[in-house]
């Protein structure tokens, strides 16, 4: 696929400028070139018209969107106490700041993601049902991205902050949300809605990455103990459904730990998702490792580099670059899989939707709620896919140096 794209690009570079054609000609060439095509075009148009008419009618007339408007807060932030909501916003602000700084520092992919975030903030702020307070916060976030990106472009020392900021984003967010006694503690039982979905997904993706790298290397190891352990782990986890993994961590983990060490059920779900994701990512990364020709190892050892250095600076960067699409695919999939935590009693975005339609006031409003939830998932999954595409382009994936 990729090489085709590149050929296509090259072709475009050398091809003469396109002759301008008017709409009628375009239509004739593309839609009505033969009797068959004409018939198909007409049939498809009628079908599309019938479907779209009903969809538009439902979206703008039948549907009662007040259920989403009224419950917007619990869909997004769940049961997080209203008084402490500023902490969630502060965490988002820190993320925006980091995004802005990266935009100013690295341009490229970071810029695309930052702009996507600005658009999301702006669109949310324009929604009539979003509270004034939230609108102010959203505005603050937009300005933070813009200001910090300009600052990072102008001032050198801020550029150095980009990487530390990214490393800090997650700990700072968790600290702000949980409080740990320094701020008033918010128990994880109150973490729900989209907030929980994002947290579970981020932990599963970020924490499982280093584990999966180790597992992938371990699976290629010459030492049987390590190799068999890694193979056993990967194949065991890949051999059972995610629901089972979640049940194991939710029900068995407390038993294994003697029943008296209380691990929070959110943390238990995070462990389960991480274990699951690590096994799949490890296989992706192993695929990358196998794509590295032997010559690379031999060249490195000819230069007198140690195995560790070879792995870290020569093999891994190339291997990871190759498997970006696969890894992002896995991340998108685990992001959606977080909705399975409903079965262990956590309320993620989808679970919150189900809770809301159980409110007698909103009985029978399932379509509205689920459409909204689908939209949220669609936006975030597409953003991840978009970011990965840009990352591939930036890294020249598919090109050989």
């Amino acid at each position: 696929m990729k090489t085709n794209d590149n050929k296509h690009n090259k072709h475009e570079e050398t091809s003469p400028p396109k002759e301008s054609i008017n709409i009628m000609e375009w239509l004739r060439q593309n839609l009505f070139s033969s009797y068959m095509n004409t018939a198909l075009t007409i049939a498809t148009t009628i079908l599309l018209y019938l479907i779209l008419k009903e969809v538009f009618y439902w979206v703008f007339i039948t549907a009662d969107w007040s259920v989403v408007a009224v419950n917007f807060k619990i869909l997004m932030a769940g049961q997080y106490p209203d008084k402490e909501l500023w902490r969630v916003w502060l965490a988002v602000c820190f993320l925006s700041l980091t995004l802005g700084v990266s935009w100013g520092t690295w341009r490229g992919v970071a810029a695309h993601i930052a702009i996507a975030f600005i658009v999301i903030y702006a669109v949310t702020a324009l929604m009539p049902f979003v509270s004034v307070e939230s609108k102010i916060w959203l505005f603050v976030n937009i300005s933070l991205i813009l200001i910090s990106s300009v600052l990072a472009r102008k001032l050198k020392f801020i550029k150095k902050l980009a990487l530390p900021c990214w490393i800090l984003v997650f700990p700072v967010t968790i600290f702000l949300l949980a409080g740990f006694g320094i701020l008033p503690t918010v128990p994880t039982s109150l973490w729900s809605g989209f907030l929980l979905t994002i947290l579970l997904a981020v932990v599963a993706i970020v924490v499982s990455f280093p584990i999966s790298v180790l597992l992938a290397i371990g699976r290629n190891s010459n030492l049987p103990l390590i190799r068999y352990f890694c193979i056993f782990y990967i194949e065991f986890i890949r051999g059972i459904p995610l629901i089972t993994v979640l049940f194991i961590t939710q029900l068995m983990l407390p038993i294994f730990l003697g029943g008296k060490i209380e691990i929070d059920s959110v943390v238990r779900a995070m462990i389960g998702l991480t274990m699951f994701n690590a096994a799949y990512l490890a296989e992706n990364i192993r695929g990358g490792l196998q794509s590295i020709p032997r010559g690379q190892y031999e060249a490195a050892s000819a230069l007198g580099l140690s195995a560790t250095i070879t792995m870290i600076f020569i093999i891994m960067p190339q291997a990871l670059r190759v498997v970006i699409p696969a890894m992002v695919g896995q991340s998108i999939s685990i992001f959606k899989d977080t909705s399975l935590v409903v079965i262990v009693g956590l309320i993620d975005l989808l679970g919150m939707g189900r809770v809301i339609i159980s409110n007698p006031e909103f009985l029978g409003k399932n379509m509205e709620v689920f459409t909204f939830i689908a939209l949220v998932f669609l936006i975030f999954c597409n953003m991840m896919a978009y970011a990965s595409r840009k990352l591939e382009e930036a890294m020249g994936l598919g090109k050989r140096y």
Binding site: V70, N71, K73, I74, G78, Q79, Y80, D82, P187, S189, L190, S192, L214, I217, G218, S221, N222, L223, L225, I226, F229, L251, P254, F256, L257, G258, G259, K260, I261, Y297, S301, L305, S306, A307, T308, T310, M311, V342, I343, V344, G345, I347, M352, R354, V355, I356, S358, N359, P360, E361, L363, G364, N366
Partner: protein
């Protein structure tokens, strides 16, 4: 070179495994010690230490348990959890609700994750004996009913011969239905679905002629159909579903507290004491009311609570009738009649033992 790396990794992993193992062992041994101590603590002591009651609830059952737009748990079952918190702490919010699925509810209770399960759970001999549970007084008598269209000509279960009946798969409702079909000797087709919305959709489209579920659930869904007047629930009740709070076996004091807090809400209704007029009753000279409200005697102390626990419950949550009306009564979408859930003095089944 690679061997070295592999060796390094191997040793790191081995150390990690051993460390985890040792750590686990140490913890386990200290835990065993703690466990012995903890075991002697009663549920009530644990709750007081923690500062809140942990109640297992359903968060997806209209009228009984759901989240309101402010993220607060609301519903009939939820209110009994709040009543317990009020009885112990005088604060109906000193409670943590844990949403539990059908499958996980009993494990959560047995493992001690929750103190009490108030989650539309039917009292059966199997659950009471084999699962090591104790069932408190029934707070809601439900029963399986059958929803049909008024113009379908179906007036009793026998008329369902040759019809299609929608039911949720894997529930006691489904088992009851097949039992009934056999008992009546009719040949109805049972169509199973895996979620309520699917049954409702099938019923709306007319691909099933009838839909069976608990009557409270049927009523709540009937209210959301486009023309509720075109449907009716058949008069027969196909099963007994006494729903109430459940606790673990082995702590009689806690079982007594749960039992008598529920009875207190019913007795208050019998006396006519509501959250609005309780102050007038506190002036009452009637000895039975004085005893009930803890102005005389020491019923509260005997339970391990304050003597005025009834006052706290009624003031914060209301009596049984108030709870019922708030979530299921005529002013709600359900518009449920009290029926068998009325006081025994009105011909219902709510009969609290005397407070004396």
């Amino acid at each position: 070179m690679q061997r070295k790396l592999a060796l390094l990794l191997c040793s790191v992993m081995l150390i990690a495994v051993f460390a985890a193992g040792c750590g686990g062992d140490q913890k386990a041994s200290t835990d065993a010690g703690e466990e012995a101590k903890v075991e002697t603590k009663t549920t009530l002591e644990k709750i007081k230490e923690r500062g809140k009651v942990i109640v297992g609830v359903n968060n997806q059952l209209p009228g009984f348990g759901y989240l309101d737009p402010n993220g607060e748990y609301t519903g009939f079952d939820v209110d009994f959890g709040r009543a317990l918190a009020a009885a112990i702490f005088g604060d109906p919010n000193a409670v943590e609700f844990r949403p539990l699925s059908d499958q996980r509810r009993f494990t959560a209770l047995q493992m001690g994750e929750i103190d009490v399960l108030i989650r539309n759970t039917t009292w059966t001999i199997h659950r009471d004996t084999a699962l090591g549970l104790n069932f408190g007084p029934t707070t809601f008598y439900d029963g399986q009913g059958m929803l049909v269209r008024k113009d379908s000509g179906i007036n009793s279960l026998k008329d369902l011969d040759g019809k299609r009946i929608g039911v949720l798969a894997g529930t006691t409702t489904e088992l009851n239905l097949t039992d009934y079909i056999r008992k009546l000797g009719i040949s109805a087709e049972v169509v199973t679905f895996d979620n309520v919305d699917a049954v409702v959709a099938a019923y709306k489209e007319g691909s099933v002629d009838a839909w069976t579920s608990d009557k409270s659930a049927l009523l709540s869904r009937m209210a959301t159909l486009s023309n509720p007047d075109e449907h009716k629930i058949l008069p027969e009740t196909m099963s007994k579903e006494p729903l109430g709070p459940v606790v673990r076996e082995g702590d009689d004091q806690w079982f007594d507290i749960v039992t008598w807090v529920v009875f207190a809400t019913i007795q208050a209704e019998e006396f006519g004491i509501t959250s609005q007029n309780i102050d007038e009753f506190l002036q009452s000279e009637d000895p039975s009311i004085k005893r009930f409200l803890g102005l005389e005697g020491n019923f509260g102390e005997n339970l391990g609570l304050e003597n005025d626990f009834v006052v706290k419950v009624i003031r914060n949550v209301g009596n049984y009738g108030e709870i019922f009306d708030r979530h299921l009564g005529p002013d709600t979408v359900f518009g449920l009649e009290r029926g068998i859930n009325d006081l025994w003095t009105n011909g219902g089944l709510m009969y609290p033992p005397p407070f004396r």
